[in-house]
């Protein structure tokens, strides 16, 4: 139920609405929960609403964990 699918914003339409695309399919989505959404942003869409921008993983958050994991598994991270 909490499934959310990444969409790219094609156009901001105003009044809390935007045109977005995922896997070649375009649909109108709401941006009430993400008013800062802009054209070109990749956003997670749940139940017709953009709920967050998808950004690169934070290196400081995950970098050390991956290092530990690869060290434990006996190899150097690539």
């Amino acid at each position: 139920m909490c499934l959310a699918v990444p969409h790219t914003i094609i156009r901001i339409l105003g009044s809390g609405e935007a045109l977005a695309e995922a896997r070649g399919v375009r649909r109108h989505i709401r941006t009430d929960c993400l008013p800062s959404a802009e054209k070109g942003d990749t956003v997670l869409v749940h139940a017709g609403f953009a709920i967050e921008k998808v950004l690169p993983e934070k290196e400081e958050e995950l970098g050390t964990l991956w290092e530990e994991i690869y060290t434990l598994s006996g190899e150097e991270p690539s």
Partner: protein, 376 residues
């Protein structure tokens, strides 16, 4: 240069971290999307035998109580009402019927994919009272709140919401405090956390010394989350780890929360199989009572008697991680996806539906649970 894929490296690390720990290591996920991803990628079978992965009450459809559904059915039978709902809810059995059956008998029940779609229907059909059945956790509740705010702005007075929305942190606290469940860690729902942020989950480590990790939904995301949990257990350092930072900011989504807090307030809620949990529901605030279907269209005074076969349904135990789907006497016999008796089989994200679809070989799951039960 490394030859190990990230998934394989996680599995190796999990193997090493779990080795010295006392078994069984019962880990609960509380998100239907995790349930399905774990089953689809056969992750239970890939993990070391001492790790028992169980699905908690993470499917909002599965935890919707029969009494609340009877209330919705009563509304649907009213010829003035058009009931709108997400498709997942149609086949969920109440005591004697479902929305699908009521529709077959002539009730107006329409599937929508967004609360805004329900609002548009209300705008197009001003003579109908359009009720939106609001189910879902904190991921979904902001969308319902936005629709209500928009209805007020557009002065649409024939749009109402029956809010069955539920909150995840209170049910986590309830499960964490039940020592007999023997849960050692929680794989936390990535999209609920996208809205709430990290803070509301910190208590799992701080108050209960349980491992906790917010994870995404790809195979590598879940394995990384599992590795983060095992690392906490191995080190005895129980601090929440967010391994889904591409979507979950530490502060969550304040705009979405603002919408939710404007329209809703916490209240006790009835969970299927778990009973009433304080502060675990979201009801409409006083300023929005004119949109509140629960107040305007009261619940039926008497409830139909339960189907005797349904008394055998063990969804409650399954939602608490006490039983595996295969251990329910109805699983695969009287209760199948075509003829579901319990909500865990109805919902595409339910534990029983996932087990039916993906876990043809039930022996591993059953063995896991025997191990967990021996320990209890």
């Amino acid at each position: 240069m490394t030859s190990l894929s990230p998934a394989k490296a996680c599995l190796e690390a999990i193997e090493k971290w779990q080795a010295p720990l006392e078994k069984p290591l019962k880990i609960m996920e509380v998100c239907g999307t995790h349930t399905m991803a774990i089953a689809r990628h056969a992750l239970k079978q890939l993990l070391p035998p001492g790790i028992v992965l169980v699905s908690g009450p993470g499917c909002p459809v599965c935890v919707t109580h029969q009494k609340d559904l009877e209330h919705a059915l009563e509304m649907a039978r009213n010829p003035e009402i058009l009931l709108t709902t997400y498709g997942d809810m149609l086949r969920v059995p109440a005591y004697r019927s479902s929305l699908l059956e009521e529709r077959a008998r002539g009730a107006s029940v329409t599937v929508v994919t967004s609360a805004m779609e329900a609002l548009e229907l209300a705008s197009k059909e001003p003579k109908k009272k359009v009720i939106f059945l609001g189910v879902g956790f904190e991921t979904t509740a902001p969308a319902t709140a936005a629709a209500i705010l928009r209805a007020r702005e557009r002065k649409i007075s024939n749009f109402f919401v029956l809010s069955l929305h539920k909150r995840v942190p209170p049910v986590l606290r309830y499960l964490a405090s039940r020592e007999n469940l023997q849960i050692r860690g929680f794989l936390l729902p990535g999209h609920v956390a996208t809205i709430l942020g990290e803070l509301p989950f910190g208590f799992l480590g701080e108050d209960f010394h349980l491992a906790s990790a917010i994870a995404g939904f790809e195979r590598e995301d879940i394995l990384l989350g599992m590795a983060a949990l095992l690392r906490q257990m191995a080190r005895g350092e129980f601090r929440l780890r967010n391994v889904y930072s591409r979507s979950v900011r530490p502060e969550g989504n304040p705009e979405a929360r603002k919408l939710m807090e404007e329209v809703f307030e916490s209240a006790p809620a009835l969970w299927r199989g778990l009973g009433t949990l304080e502060d675990s529901g979201l009801v409409l605030q006083k300023n929005y009572h004119n949109f509140d279907a629960a107040r305007i269209f009261p619940a039926p005074s008497t409830m139909p008697k339960e189907d005797p076969l349904e008394k055998l349904c063990r969804c409650g135990d399954i939602l608490m991680g006490r039983l595996a789907p295969h251990q329910c006497p109805l699983f695969g016999t009287s209760c199948t996806p075509l003829h579901p008796l319990g909500p865990c089989m109805v919902s595409g994200e339910g534990s029983c539906a996932a087990a039916w679809k993906y876990e043809k070989n039930a022996s591993r799951a059953a063995a896991d649970f025997s191990l967990a039960r021996e320990a209890e």
